[in-house]
């Protein structure tokens, strides 16, 4: 196990920088997920940790040692790739054992390691098979096995679940998480899927355009996003954002929702801002609930239903509110019809306020 530290890490291709001086510390035994859209620099960062990409500036340290000039093999890390990278001309046992190719272990010790790893991953009965005879999930387990067999100090996963179908992906998420709990090895996991990030990570690193936007536990990021991007990227369905303007009403500061006859009262300690400034009011779909009885508290909005998505336990209701598309939820078996006018209500404390220009979070209310 090991700590991994990135210090002002920069990656440039020619004159174009794709990673802009990021700082990050991954603690011993921690499961950290780098998440962000395509092209945000998360895979490049992972490849710099692995030694597969040269570092333009800054340092990567593993267990306190700067490894910038180390070859990948000398970093004692293992990597699992998106397309598994298991060799089609080798059996499962040979693939797992390939991680020990340069090891000085005896043949007997290697065989035992392969058998132990296969047992841990439930691959004992498949050791003589070729990759073409395996399912996607089994192939992924072989790839993990090849990484595990060397007892590396850290695992790097580069979107390893992207090629699997939804059901298998959910299953592999749990398997990888269990594996981490059992081995306790440091893991850096790259994905563009926020569900993977939320369900697996001890800490999530949100990246965009080569910058780290926010680092925190899944719930920290969900509850307290520092900007619009993180707020919308974390959580499914994505957070609703309704344009509003700062006003003063009866001695209180409020955010008046544009084209909607509703306003949100801001906390008394809200920092003084320009009256008339544009803001965005954010509310998560699960906090914006269809109110049939009309007796709830909190902010109420009225809109016309455009589409409904019944999910069984609840229904996602797509609404048009003052020209803004919004998603709300209807609990239980309540399923509004397209064209209905409904009232949706968000309780106090569930709203987020963002500056429309800088997109930085201002407060919760």
């Amino acid at each position: 196990m090991a700590t991994i530290a990135l210090d002002r890490l920069v990656k440039r291709y020619g004159k174009m920088a794709v990673v802009h001086g990021i700082d990050l510390r991954v603690n011993d035994g921690e499961f950290v997920v780098l998440v962000g859209p395509s092209g945000c620099g998360k895979s490049t960062t992972l490849r710099m940790i692995a030694g597969l990409e040269d570092i333009s500036e800054g340092t990567v340290s593993i267990d306190g040692h700067v490894v910038n000039e180390f070859e990948p093999k000398d970093r004692n890390i293992a990597m699992v790739f998106q397309n598994y990278a298991i060799y089609p001309h080798m059996s499962v046992a040979q693939n797992i054992g390939f991680g020990l190719y340069t090891s000085k272990l005896t043949h007997g010790e290697k065989t035992k390691r392969i058998a132990d790893t296969a047992r841990l991953l439930g691959l004992e009965s498949l050791l003589d098979r070729r990759p073409s005879q395996l399912s996607g999930g089994q192939r992924q387990r072989v790839a993990i096995g090849r990484a595990m067999v060397r007892n590396p100090v850290a695992f790097l996963f580069d979107e390893p679940l992207s090629n699997l179908d939804a059901q298998l992906r959910a299953q592999m998420r749990i398997e990888i998480k269990k594996l981490h709990q059992r081995l306790g090895t440091t893991i850096v996991f790259v994905t563009h899927d926020q569900v993977e990030a939320m369900t697996m990570a001890d800490r999530i690193v949100v990246m965009r355009d080569g910058h780290i936007l926010q680092v925190g536990t899944p719930m920290e990021l969900y509850d307290n996003p520092t900007d619009v991007f993180t707020a919308r990227f974390i959580g499914s369905p994505t957070m609703n954002l309704i344009p509003a303007t700062l006003r003063e009403q009866a001695g209180h500061r409020v955010a008046e929702l544009d084209q909607v006859q509703a306003s949100v009262r801001l906390p008394s300690n809200f920092p003084i801002a320009d009256i008339g400034a544009d803001v965005l009011v954010g509310v998560r779909p699960h906090d914006l609930v269809v109110d049939q009885a009309g007796a709830g508290t909190g902010i109420a909005l009225k809109g016309e239903v455009s589409v409904v998505e019944p999910l069984g336990s609840e229904t996602l209701v797509h609404l048009e509110i003052g020209g803004t598309a919004v998603i709300a939820t209807a609990p239980g078996k309540i399923i509004p019809r397209a064209g209905d006018r409904v009232t949706v209500r968000a309780p106090e404390g569930s709203l987020y306020l963002f500056d429309a220009k800088s997109e930085r979070a201002l407060c919760r209310t």
Partner: protein
Amino acid sequence: MTPQITLSGARSSHTAFRPSRIVSWTLLFLGGLVMVTPILFMLSTSLKDASQVYDLKLIPASPSLDNYWTVLSDGRFLRWFLNSLVVAVAVTVSNVFFDSLVGYTLAKFRFRGRYVVFIAILSTLMIPTEMLVIPWYLMASTFGWIDSYWGIMFPGMMTAFGTFLMKQFFETVPDEFLEAARIDGLNEFTIWWRVAMPLVTPALSALAIFTFLGNWTAFFWPLIVTNSRELYTLPIGLSSFAVEQAIQWEMIMTGASLATIPTLLVFLLLQRYIVRGVMLAGLKG
């Protein structure tokens, strides 16, 4: 009752009698006949005695294997056969090794001048062999390689075509395979040998076949560079039957029939790779 859809069956029964199909089958048959006839006459002549050679009947009046015994009992034929085998195998092994090594480097490593090197290698394909023979001969003469195995082999030990073919194939190998091996601690040569090479077996087979066949039938350069009869390759040896004595067609045809055995074996065993190799050379260019 659900209606049965028999589209494919109906289609094949209709298309079988289309005039365009009849024309194409006829053309294919004629083309095949043109190609097979000389081979049949070669085999037929090898089974005839000298008096029947100019009798153009395809089936000999009294077929006999005597010519085969005569050729095989002549030590020179076996020597030439062995020479051809040594040359073809050595050049093939060399091409498979060096062409794939260079092809891999050009396909998988980013270095300054990579494109220029590739174009320079590729441009040698434009130079006809006839233009190269004099420089080759001068080189062989300077280094004392005239009338030696090495003299026959050296111009073909590595080819631009093979390098091109292998580069195109290596480009299809995902980088992750190589990176995974790099992280596992393998050096670059072992990655090429243990990981990349097994992944391009079809291309290696195609290259091996092309190189073997090309060298087995090579005539021009071996004729120039060899002087002593002991170093003749099979095509040169067979041609000497025609120029040194009265032309013995039945013996030449017998030798030629025997000479086709390795090429036929190679074709029969690896024909699917030949097709794939030809397709690759055509498509990726």
